[in-house]
Every structure is written in C-alpha cells, then in structure tokens.
Amino acid sequence: MTGTLQNESLTKSLVFLRILIGWHFLYEGVIKLFNPDWTAFAYLATAQGPFDWLFISLTNEAVIGWVDTLNMIALIFVGITLIMGFYEKLGALAGIVLLGMYYFAHPPFPWLEQVNVEGSYWFVNKNLIEIAALWVLYQFPTGFYFGLGYLKSQRINTAKTPQL
C-alpha cells in the first residue's frame, strides 16, 4: 500500500515536471511564431566549440529560413506533447535533440569565452539539466495518469473488461 502511494506521488511529481518543461518549450515556440522578425541567425553565427562549423553553416541564406521554421515547429511540438501527455516519448526525444543542439552551439566549456550567459557554468548548464530531466520523462511516461494517454488507456481498459 505504501509502495503504491509512493508510486502515485512520484507519478504526480513526474507529471508536474512534464508540464513545466512542456510549458517552457511551448511558450518559446509561440513567442517565435508570432514574432515575424525572430531568427536564430545571431545565435548560430556566434556558435563556438567543436561543432561551430555545423551551426555556422546553418546560417546560409538558403537554409536559415528552414532552420527557423523547423526550430519553431519542434518547440511547439515538444510543448504540446508534454502538456497534453500524448506521444510524450517522441516529444521528450525531440526536446533532447533540440536542447542538445543548443548545448553544443554554445557549450559551457572552460576554454571557450562565455557570451550572453546569465550565470556561471562549468560543463553543466541549464540546457544539460533539462536534457537529463527529459531523459527521465522519456523513460517514465505519465500520460496514462494525466493526459490524453489516460483516455486511451481507459478505452483499452473498458474494451478489455467484460461487462458484468
């Protein structure tokens, strides 16, 4: 009984974490969607670290428009899946990929100059922590408890349970 209770409170905590991260992604995406002047150009053009060539190549005139659009769609996708508790594993993976890119575009490595950062970081920054949190969410989906996944599981349960 205690185990179930603990499980339930862990599930609730994970739901809370899922909503918070979804909230973060969705708001970032929506702000970009409604700001026609937004572009990742400056962020990418000033990339540092081992993959700077990759990010700088994305600033190419032919590509940057697609990069901006895909980034915005991906942010909104991650946001919606996590908040709604549906395809959340896919959402968590997409989030990890996005954050991984943000992490490596401006990695907090001690030999690189840290520009436009609000805190002090040594290898670990908030992007990396959010990646770790998403990794947890990927392994423990909670949509069945709170989210569209709940309805799905209920329907399956209903179907499976013979009417008495």
Partner: protein, 527 residues
C-alpha cells in the same frame, strides 16, 4: 464510450494549460509588436537607402597618386588596386582569423580608371606602386614633383595623401590646372591656405572632394532623418570622443628598414616646413609634429566634427575653447595626446517640442586621449531623446521629454529602453583586425552596409568623386564642407596653443583677430 468527470479532468487537464500558454504567448508578442508600431508611427523614421550614381563612362579616368603611405595605399585599394604584399597578408589572415577583407576587395565593383602616375619622395614606395599597379598596356609613370605630374597632361585627377602641410599647395596647383582633386583631411594646414584653396576650388572647372569618407555611411543619413523629424527634440549637447591606446593609434608607425637619405628626398618632404637634418622619425611619424601635421585637432577631431556636420549641418562654431597636453606619450612629439574641446553654437537648434524661444543653442564637445582605449560612444542629447551615433543608431527617450510625456506616462516608453535601433549589419559577424580598425569601424568611418553587405565607405566616396568627374554633380564633401572642417580644426589648434577662446565672425567669414597675434604663425609653431 461515456466520459466521466474524472476522465475529462485527467485526460484533458492539459488543454487549459496549453490554451493559457498559447494565449499568453500570442498576447505578449502582439502587444510588443503593437507598442513598437505605435512608437515607430510616432517617430516616422525612414531608414535610408543608397542613392544610385550615374555610371563612370567614357575613357578610363587617369589617376595620379601623390603619397603612397598608409592612407595612400588604403585609397588605392578602395580604387581596386592592391599590392601583392597586402593580398598575401590578407589571404593568410582569412585562413587564420576568418578576416573577410580580401573577399570584399575582390567583390568590389571595378571602377573605370587607370592608375597612371605616382609621386612619392620615398623611392621604395614609388617603386612599389609601379611594380604593383602597372599593367601590360600601361606602366605607371613616376614623377619627382607634383608640379610635373599635374602639368604632364597624363593625369585627369590626383589623389593627395601626403602630410598635411602639402595638402593645399598640391590641391591648389591641380585645381588651377583643371585637374580633379581628392584630398585627405584636414584639407589645409593653415588659415591662409584655407581661403586660397576655397578660391581655387570655386574658380576651377575641376572637382574637389575632401576625404571624409564617412559621409557615405548609410546610418548617418538615417540619423539626419531622425534629427530632422524632431525625434530627439532640441539637442543642446553633443559628446564625441577619441580613445586609443596603442602605438598605431598614437601615430608611432613602423620605420621602414630601407629608409635613408639616399632613398628619401628629404628636402622635398620638408617643403615649407622648418629645415632640419634628415630624421626618419619625423618622416614616418609626421602626425606628431605641428610642422607637418595637426595632431588630434586636425587628424581626429575633424572626423567627429564632420560626422556631425554631415548629420546636422551646423557649420562653423561661434567660438572654441580647448585644453590638454602631452600626458601619455612623452616621446619628443609636440602635438597634444590628450585634448578637450568645446565648440559653441549659440544660435543653432534642431527644433523644439517646448514653447517657442525656450530652447536655442548647442555645445559640441570633443574629448580625446591616446592613453586609454575605453570606448566612449558619440551621443546626441536632446530634450526628448538621446541618440548614439555610429554604424548603428540607438535612440532612447528622455524621462523628462515633453514630446513623449504621454507615452512615458502609460509606460509604452521607458527611459532606459531604446525606442529605435538601426543596425544595417545585424546579420554580419565582423572580423576586425586591430584596435585602431575597431575604433574607426565603431564610428562608421571604415565601412557602411548596403542591403546587409559590408561596403568600404572610402570606395563609395571615391566612386562619387569619379562619377562627378564624368557626369557633374555636387560633391558630398566639397569645398564648403572642407572649408568648415578646416577652419574648425584650425580654431581648435589655436585655442589649444594660445590657451584662450577663439571666435568666428559669421558675417565677415573670418576668425576674430587678436591684436599682436599672427594665427598662422601660431599654428605652425612647435609649441
């Protein structure tokens, strides 16, 4: 299937969260964009576009370069002629630092000119021009004196990039013989020369262009529009600065290893300057002595003064005071390396949002040191807003503004939040090679941006001059602008050297005489 309340809560509970975030994001973005358009609508600023120039048609214009030092070489590059050494150096820098200057040079539009002749008192430099710029069809011809070059009939136009004391004699000789002139700043070395050159330019059929290339900077045209539309209100104070802290910035240029009495025509270099024995230091670092140069007032203040004269058109100040000294480079120079200048314009106004007659007059300050490199930006301070002027423009509303009082009250504007930012090169990561280059670049003196592409403003300035030679037209920095610049620089030099206020008589168009003082003697004196 029938949904229970529990089903709805647990299954669709995310929906209101999603809806709220979406609403908040949309509202936030829209409010910001609405506020911005409201501000922009009130400001009515038109970001400037470049004006198209008529083509430089016909036979190539034959150019003679007089003086192939640091600036002479830069001017030739702007014309499309780079030395082999420079090309190799830039190729290396491109690989090492990503410096894009080589590519920009190669992409530069080709001008319809021929590099015909060179005149330089240092053999190495003259031979360098001949070796680098001669083509199979034409070998660059060397002339010993500028008179020979001007009278040869082999040049249509000359570029004068010599020490200051040679500017006017050469420019006057060329104009008197209807040879077009591009002369570096300051236009003249003395007051008398300034009037002589003015007369020569007005009577000549040839064109005179003074080398203030920043007149081509696109942001300055937008800045003009901002001031004209009254965005800043009455500007009562302008602050301009020079901050440099390196050898190059303090005019301690390299001394060429091949420089000696055999390779340099020393007497020709001296010209009207006091006769002294051969001195390499004076030859390569002439900007440090009043005999050949004019120090901070003629060399760097002129940039800042003309930048503002280009934006505001305020003309010659009614009076100037100046002070300073040699405080950071006691190396034998006699021009100051720290200088404070106040220029008064008591009748000037950029317009007012307050009751008529309340506001009039403006002070322009120039504060310079060659012993500190902290960047102090150029600021125009108006009753309604302040503007930082450079290649980028930023406008902040003033907390006490009359014009924006309502918007400030409603917090649609905040005093510490810019209401306008113009950054034509926002999409350009720049690689600037040295501290001095950065100093010039920040001020908009090196390049401007056209359609987001970085363009050398010296190239644009020279192109305007060349197009004018073929097609006529008024120069953006002709004799009027050059006269105002030169007089202001000389008044500053006098104020510093005499330690007293120097006044300009607008009616008589002359510096108010001071009994017993010969101004030109003072300007040329070593102290």
């Amino acid at each position: 299937m029938k949904w229970t309340r529990r089903d709805v809560l647990k299954g669709l509970g995310g929906l209101p969260i999603l809806g709220s975030i979406w609403w908040a994001g949309t509202a936030n973005a829209l409010v910001k964009s609405k506020d911005r358009s409201e501000i922009l609508e009130q400001l009515k600023i038109q970001p400037s576009l470049t004006s198209a120039l008529p083509e430089i048609g016909g036979a190539p214009i034959r150019i003679g370069i007089i003086g192939f030092g640091i600036r002479g070489e830069q001017l030739c590059r702007a014309l499309g002629f780079a030395t082999q050494d420079w090309l190799e150096e830039m190729k290396l820098e491109e690989e090492l630092t990503g410096n894009t200057q080589l590519q920009e040079f190669l992409d530069q539009e080709k001008l319809n000119i021929q590099m015909s002749a060179v005149c330089d008192v240092f053999d190495v430099k003259a031979e360098h021009v001949i070796a680098s710029f001669s083509t199979p069809e034409h070998t660059v011809k060397r002339f010993t004196t500028y008179q020979e070059m001007i009278h040869s009939g082999e040049v249509d136009a000359v570029i004068i990039a010599t020490p200051d004391h040679w500017h006017a004699p050469m420019a006057i000789e060329a104009l008197n013989n209807n040879v077009h002139v591009y002369v570096e700043k300051p236009m003249t070395h003395t007051i008398e020369e300034t009037y002589q050159l003015q007369e020569a330019a007005e009577n000549s059929e040839a064109l005179l262009m003074v080398g203030h290339q920043h007149r081509q900077t696109l942001s300055f045209k937008t800045a003009s529009d901002i001031v004209e539309k009254g965005v800043l209100g009455h500007v009562s104070m302008i602050q301009t600065f020079t901050n440099r802290n390196d050898d190059n910035g303090a005019w301690n240029y390299d001394i060429h290893e091949k420089a000696n009495e055999q390779t340099i025509d020393w007497d020709l270099f001296l010209g009207s300057a006091p006769k002294i024995p051969f001195n390499k230091n004076h030859f390569f670092r002439w900007r440090k002595w009043w005999a050949y140069g004019s120090g901070l007032s003629g060399d760097l203040l002129t940039h800042d003064y003309d930048r503002l004269n280009c934006v505001l058109g305020m003309g010659i100040p009614s009076s100037i005071t100046a002070s300073g000294g040699i405080y950071t480079h006691n190396d034998g120079r006699n021009v100051p390396d720290v200088l404070q200048v106040n220029m008064e314009f008591p009748d000037f106004s950029t317009g007012s949002s307050q009751p008529k007659g309340k506001e009039k007059g403006m002070t322009f300050t120039y504060s310079a040191t060659l012993g500190n490199g902290f960047n102090r930006p150029t600021i125009l301070m108006g009753h309604d807003a302040s503007m930082e002027l450079g290649n980028n423009l930023t406008v902040w509303p003033d907390g006490g503004s009359t014009k924006y009082a309502a918007m400030l009250e409603e917090e649609k504007m905040k005093p510490n939040v810019p209401i306008y930012h113009y950054n034509p090169g926002a999409n350009m990561p720049d690689a600037v090679s040295s501290a001095t280059s950065q100093y010039f670049a920040d001020k908009g003196l090196m390049w401007t941006y056209i359609d987001g592409v970085r363009v050398n403003s010296t190239f644009l300035h020279l192109r305007e001059w060349l197009s004018g030679i073929r097609n006529g037209g008024t120069m953006s920095c002709g004799i009027k602008e050059g006269f105002e610049e030169a007089i202001s620089a000389h008044m500053t030099g006098l104020a510093y050297k005499l330690g007293r206020r120097i006044d300009w008589d607008h009616k008589q168009q002359q510096i108010v005489p001071i009994e017993g003082i010969n101004f030109d003697e003072v300007l040329l004196s070593s102290t």
